[in-house]
Symmetry: C2
Subunit: 378 residues, 2 copies
């Protein structure tokens, strides 16, 4: 079929990609994937052509899980699932899996993704009270622990660690405790912040994350679930959404998204070997975010509305003082090799997503461009 695209002969130019997801992947990971694409380790076929039950793919899958467990120090009493449908299908899977003994899903409502998770739980089972909300602040500041009030029948508490669109992040892990002291499982949509730094998994009942930010390509979702929660499922759910079913089958109830799983494994290897683990990743992410927020705060031309303690390190929305300059800003940024800075269609403005694979040099190039643009247009 020939090379109508960027053929093997053409030079490869990687640009800085601030997309919110699907998002930048490490260049080293893509190079490795490219070199192995037609012939994995001399086996004569691509990873995407392998049986998911064959020796080679099973080794890839197990290594990926082992590396993720090591990176996040996942305790032995948690199962790791590599499944499909994105975080959005988990909006249904979580209540199916955790409401089998009755009770209601409780939510911390801090933005668009939390609202979607809540809407799906209500669509399926009604109820789903809000245990605390940031709505009054326009989702610029997350509720404090003391604001969180669970319903008497709470079966679990769900929250969104980092709101990808709003750029709002929790600066603490909430405790899901009833007034009478009873603790319920904490469930977290960690799609846009997982692996950005170290984490105490033992505080959570369920963590889930769509892959397309810090893990790998879209279509894969990782679920980390505490073993004792595997027996709380409703009977009436689609079998493939069942955590217990998936756990017992090693996530191979049906054919998993094998190539995405393999790429996730390469990302985990990169985090371990090239970056040096999550403490090192955390430091890099802190520097990147500080650099960009400092540039925004030092200027009257750019602004970010989020309370400082809740500013996301992964997704940094900002507006220009004059929104007639939005279009020229985006055009010039793209011409300068800074891609996908447009804010989400629901909020407008700009957004720079600084996921793990976005290098510090990208942020430096961005703040240089912003300063120059302000000088010329401000």
């Amino acid at each position: 079929m020939g090379n109508k695209g960027n053929g093997g002969q053409s030079p490869i130019h990687r640009r800085y990609n601030f997309c919110a997801g699907p998002a930048a992947l490490p260049t080293a990971v893509l190079e490795r994937a490219r070199d192995e694409l037609l012939d994995y380790h001399g086996r004569g076929l691509s990873v995407m052509e392998m049986s998911h039950r064959g020796e080679d793919f099973v080794a890839i899958a197990e290594q990926a899980e082992a590396d993720l467990r090591e990176l996040l120090a996942i305790p032995d009493n948690y199962r790791v699932l590599f499944t499909q449908g994105g975080a959005s299908l988990q909006f249904a899977a979580v209540p199916y899996n955790l409401l089998g003994h009755g009770g209601s899903a409780n939510f911390l409502y801090t933005g668009i993704w939390g609202k979607k998770a809540m809407a799906e739980a209500r669509h399926l089972f009604g109820g789903a009270p809000v245990a605390a909300s940031s709505e009054a602040s326009g989702h610029t500041e997350v509720p404090r622990q003391s604001d969180i009030v669970l319903s008497d029948d709470a079966a679990y508490l769900h929250y969104t660690a980092n709101e990808t669109i709003g750029g709002l992040a929790f600066d603490y892990v909430p405790e899901a405790v009833q007034p009478d002291g009873r603790e319920v499982p904490l469930v977290c949509d960690m799609s846009s912040s997982i692996l950005s730094g170290a984490l105490d998994v033992s505080k959570f009942g369920v963590i889930y994350a769509g892959a397309q930010k810090n893990i790998g390509p879209a279509g894969l979702v990782v679920v980390i679930v505490r073993e004792d929660l595997l027996d709380r499922a409703r009977a009436d759910m689609p079998s493939l959404l069942g955590y217990k079913t998936l756990a017992e089958a090693g996530s191979m109830v049906n054919t998993p998204a094998t190539y995405s799983w393999y790429l996730a494994g390469l990302v985990f290897q990169w985090l371990k070997n090239d970056i040096g683990g999550l403490a090192a990743m955390d430091a890099i992410n802190r520097r990147k975010a500080e650099t960009l927020y400092a540039a925004i705060d030092a200027s009257d031309f750019y602004a970010n509305p989020i309370a400082r303690r809740n500013r996301s390190r992964m997704n940094i929305p900002f507006v220009l003082a004059d929104d007639r300059l939005d279009e020229p800003f985006l055009e010039e940024a793209e011409a300068a090799g800074l891609l996908n800075l447009k804010g989400h269609r629901s909020v407008g403005g700009m957004r720079a997503s600084l996921y793990n694979a976005v290098p510090e040099a990208a942020v430096e190039a961005l703040v240089d461009f912003m300063a120059d643009f302000e000088k010329r247009k401000g």
Copy 2:
């Protein structure tokens, strides 16, 4: 992270891959994907790093749909969905989407995959009568049209066009007609035979197919649904399984499996431009299957149990006269560059899957090897 695998320097050896799925992909498609992996058309990023709502990916997605429509001559009153979870999640999605007006799912039961589809419909909604079965023949011959008896409350008739494990294929498109003449929608799991030849889509209400045989990598599933069926859904289903929801959002309710969608598009291009369309593909597939069945039938050493009219062209199981030779057969085949010939773990023996991407030369190499093996061991 270096090249610990088959680095850029090593020669690439593609072997013949008879895997039942995930399965062989065309080498030309993988070469194109490799060349574009780090930098798609000079854009400076990979397709898997692109926003699914950006101009470039939307063009990729639309082209893939247009090419699929052209290949299968899909009528305008059908919608094409590119969604996630594999065909197995469709085992749930189909009854959710088609039983909203009551009635029951009816099944033609011809093997393991049909049984799984039936089991999931029963798990969710009970009922699901068998309208005809090949069980009495040991699933070696599909029911005739005259054997098919729908239940009075049939809402649709589901069948599996090609049983991947049994190697049993329908040689006709069943009519789903009640004794009183009322027609109900025909639903087909076409995972392992779609695009293997021309098709009259207008005979079907719903066609669905997991990608990992003739379309692309695992994790993507294509659904082709007649528009008038979009309003028959139950209210209580996970939103992401809704055909109407997906159709209205152009399959982008949430982030789709973008890279798999792109690869599917490359496969469609290959079918159109390199193969010359489905009539040409059909002729190639006929020759491949005839070559292998002829070799099996000419020998007392190899056997295939399926009635001739129902022999699959895509998945050809066969047994050796002496199953103590299974292990040496597989070892020697692998050494000869013929991969993944082991039968499904539930049935044993051998299975050669001859999907579109398996070249005629692979089948010739296989029958040569089989003849040689028989001469030495038979």
